[in-house]
Amino acid sequence: MQTITTDNWLLTVGTFLPLVGVLVLIFIPKGEEQLIKTLGIVTAGATLAVGIFTMFRFDFGQAEKLQFFVDVTWIEVIRSNYTIGLDGISLPLYLLSMVITFLVMIYTWDNMPDAGNPKAFYILMLLLQVGMAGTFIAQDLILFFVFFELVLLPMYFMIGVWGGEDRRYASLKFFLYTMFGSALMLVAFLALFFQTGAESFGFAQLIEAGAGIDRNVQIWIFAGMFIGFAVKVPMFPFHTWLPDAHTQAPTQGSVILAAILLKLGTYGFVRIAIPMLPEGAKAWAPVIAILAVIGIIYGALCCLAQTDMKRLIAFSSVAHMGFVMLGIATLTEFGINAALFGMIAHGWITGMLFFVAGAVKHRYHTLEIKRLSGLLTQVPRLGWILGLCAMASLGLPGLAGFWGEFPVILSAYNPGFGLSEPLFRTLMVIAALGTVLAAAYLLWLYQRTAFGEPTEEFAGRTTHAVGAAVAPDHADDHHDAHHDEELRDVTVTEWIAWTPLLIAIVVFGVYPQLMFRVFDPAVTELVARLGESLNP
């Protein structure tokens, strides 16, 4: 793998800058909430600025090469180095993590979850950011593993402290599932290292040496990695932590989880499991594809059965990640490109959907679909945004979601490297049915929540509904206390936090080439290298 080392301080600064913010925040008294929030946002903004600068310095003409490459000795005895670099596959994800963290922090400005304590909350978000960005730049298995695990604890606390009613159960479930996956993954990493007899844990060496391992051994090692990454994605049948975690997490946690944390798993497949173990990948591809399609259909059916808006969006993530995994499992340039696009698009769209769900919850104090109705009449702008995101999520052409789904389905028609065509074509048909189901559950969700008149419970809240509007028989209503509140449409903070995502959904939907252009060289090289070892 060729590397470019100009400006190689950029990635280190971009990744660890949030730690500076953490150190500063630790010494600020808890009471200074405005100052804490400002500092958090400034740190995330500065990090994003470094990220954007990185993007301008990135040589798109050589996107297949690792740029800003650093390789310094870290733990000599175990032959692990501080090796970092960025190529076309990781650049968009690296930037996505920075953008999302920044926007989530802005959103938190006046949407602090009920448990309070912005100091701890902002510190955790900054720590998460370090882990997420680090995972995308790591070019050494051990370094990757450290960053991969670094996100665990902050997210555990974010769900467990600031989450909903079942937060303790959900956070522990999230933690143990992921831990289980990564423990086996670590065993697989070590097995890979010793089986190849590589000089170091660097990706480049392992990719070169991995293909030489005996096929059966590759299959076993791939199994270990598969469990680790599949739990994170999450793929059916390892997905059960996801609905709980998403539903219970605070809005900020859900957005970060959906937009970035899930991508760590799919990224792991593309970056580590498949290139390092080509034979293993080929043997596992049908299994992955079948599980992916089961995930698509199962996720969609679960969505149809949900009564809670947030839970529905969570299950839709299972379905969408199914498309991503199907694309990866085809082992074709086309499929992997589409899968990568799907990862980014899902990050924007589902992130936005969770934002909207959070906004609805904030206003109505419920997410139960049957109690919500007529968003378009009460909070029209929010209603329209929900509409746009739902359309994008179901894969309407012209919006970003389309480019993560349609090409994946197409790519399954012609899987690479002699994978069974009948199987993949059958899966293609089933996956296509999945898009129909997706349209069904999203449109149905939209119809039930946005159309029609507001339910009796919330009727009349846009107008100045003081005291008199409340019927006596509502006296025992749990949410009575909130009845006097005036419903507000999208606030300024929300506009600031959401507009970049909405613009991205539309722009990249209309002109996806902007993104494919970045991925493609790196993906081409990846598939070419697969070809060398699979068809010698």
């Binding site: 870290w74 000599e76 402290v161 937060r167 086996l184 670590l186």
Partner: protein
């Protein structure tokens, strides 16, 4: 008969003594007498000075360890190679002295406020540390046994230190009876070893065992020696004393047992395996494999059910012992033998930091809550965020989450085991991986209390942590963090050659 002895006296020549190499032990001996003497001659009001004095003795003993490490490139052998000061011994001595120092920091207020016998306590503790420091250098069955008894017998008394507390008495008696029993088993095995090989020197035993097939008595001997030491490291099924002793003993003493005594047991085990039994892989490997699997699994499953924090930490320490045993289970297979010593030593060092830290938090918090229940940690994040943060560091480190020290310890162990590459090794690695997850469940349960639950009695006055405990927390927390990010600092220690190379093996 006397005439015969007198006749032999003529042939006796004084052994060459390397005073520099023996300096840590000698300083400790002087220190023990000093503490004892001063304690007898000062008034009750000034007994607090004993802790300070003990701390200084330990630091003083640390100085020659450092100078030896800086100067010494070759190992220093004494008494015909039966007492050796090499890199392996030095790093272990450093660990023991460091642990003892932190334990002194943790004990000071506990003893003062409990009105315990401070002077005697520190004397006994120094004796025990002396035994440990000797253990690191012992290369002979006799000196190993002497060191073991020297470190154990004061420990029996320390366990029963709260003499008006029935549970503390129970702790002491249980520890004593089972400990003595274990010593007997160990001694029995050693006698067989001596009988069949004709030597008490580990290296010579190793040579005889390597020269031919093992006879049945030698197999029994190895099994007995390992079983006897398994008591010391509280490996399942020889662990039953640990939870009761740990719960009953004063908390700083428990911390001392769970880290230092256990480490000493592992040191003896390592010296024996690598010097005396290196060729008997067929005997000790399966034995330790089973011990490791049982220890980590049973320890974890029992820890899951505990509601008392000290009992939970006791079982957690049993389970961590299983992880430390892992590399020894493959110590004779392929490349793993090279890294097994390092894996154990690094684990012992990092484990010392994080486990002592966890106990220090327990001491600090229970000073306020007067309770040992895990639920008493509720609300800590609210009223003592700093303490909550360090507890998070220790628990997450014990669970093995990067980038904290515990992770690098576990990683090394896994690396060694997978390096062995045999089927049994892979099976062990997978079992250990599953165990890591089980362990995470109970460590996270503590963190759940700390972060997510309200204070059980609604009492949210801040903690008043005494300065020595704060110092102990600082040392352990920084150690845990730094070793996780820069493990290279300690990973240089514990090369196999440090132990065996000097002896020409």
């Amino acid at each position: 008969m006397i005439a015969a002895i007198v006749a032999q006296l003529g042939e006796w020549t004084a052994p060459v003594i390397d005073w520099h190499a023996l300096a840590p032990e000698l300083i400790l001996v002087v220190g023990i007498n000093l503490v004892l003497f001063i304690d007898l001659n000062i008034g009750e009001a000034r007994k607090w000075a004993m802790a300070t004095l003990t701390g200084f003795v330990l630091l003083a003993a640390f100085v020659p360890v450092v100078t030896l490490a800086v100067i010494g490139d070759a190992s220093r052998e004494m008494f015909d190679g039966r007492y050796v000061v090499d890199h392996y011994a030095l790093i272990l001595k450093a660990i023991f002295l460091l642990v003892a120092y932190v334990v002194v920091l943790m004990s000071q207020n506990e003893l003062e406020e409990g009105g315990y016998y401070q002077g005697e306590f520190y004397v006994l503790m120094l004796c025990s540390v002396l035994g440990m420091v000797m253990m690191a250098s012992s290369r002979d069955l006799v000196s190993i046994f002497v060191a073991l008894e020297l470190l154990s017998i004061p420990a029996y008394m320390m366990a029963a230190w709260r003499k008006r507390d029935v549970r503390s008495n129970e702790a002491g008696v249980k520890y004593y009876l089972l400990g003595v029993f274990a010593s007997a088993v160990l001694l029995y095995g050693m006698s067989f070893l001596y009988g069949t090989t004709g030597s008490t020197k580990l290296v010579e035993i190793g040579e005889v065992l390597a020269s031919g097939d093992l006879i049945a008595m030698q197999v029994v001997a190895i099994a007995f020696v390992i079983a006897g030491l398994a008591f010391k490291v509280s490996a399942v099924p020889f662990h039953s004393w640990a939870p009761d002793t740990y719960e009953g003993a004063p908390t700083p003493v428990t911390a001392f047992f769970s880290v230092a005594s256990k480490a000493a047991g592992f040191v003896a085990l390592m010296s024996l395996i690598f010097l005396a039994f290196p060729t008997a892989t067929g005997v000790y490997q399966p034995l330790i494999w089973v011990l490791a699997v049982l220890t980590m699994t049973v320890g974890n499953v029992m820890a899951l059910r505990q509601t008392n924090i000290v009992r939970m930490l006791a079982y957690s320490s049993v389970s961590q012992g299983g992880f430390i045993l892992m590399p020894l289970a493959v110590a004779g297979t392929g490349d793993a033998s090279q890294s097994a010593v390092r894996a154990v030593i690094v684990y012992l060092l990092i484990y010392a930091f994080m486990n002592l830290g966890a106990f220090a938090v327990v001491i600090a918090v229970s000073r306020k809550t007067r309770s040992g229940e895990i639920t008493s940690f509720g609300g800590l994040f609210g009223y003592a965020p700093g303490m909550a943060a360090v507890m998070t560091i220790f628990m997450a480190s014990l669970a093995g989450i990067p980038p904290l020290g515990g992770w690098i310890a576990k990683f090394n162990v896994f690396k060694t085991v997978i390096d062995a590459g045999s089927g049994a090794a892979y099976a062990l690695a997978v079992i250990a991986a599953v165990n890591t997850v089980i362990a995470a469940a109970y460590y996270m349960r503590v963190l759940r209390q700390v972060w997510m639950m309200p204070a059980p009695d609604g009492d949210i006055t801040p903690l008043a942590t005494p300065a020595p405990v704060t110092a102990a927390l600082g040392i352990t927390a920084i150690g845990t963090l730094v070793l996780g990010v820069l493990p290279g600092l300690v990973l240089r220690f514990g090369d196999l050659q440090d132990l065996t190379g000097a002896l020409g093996r």
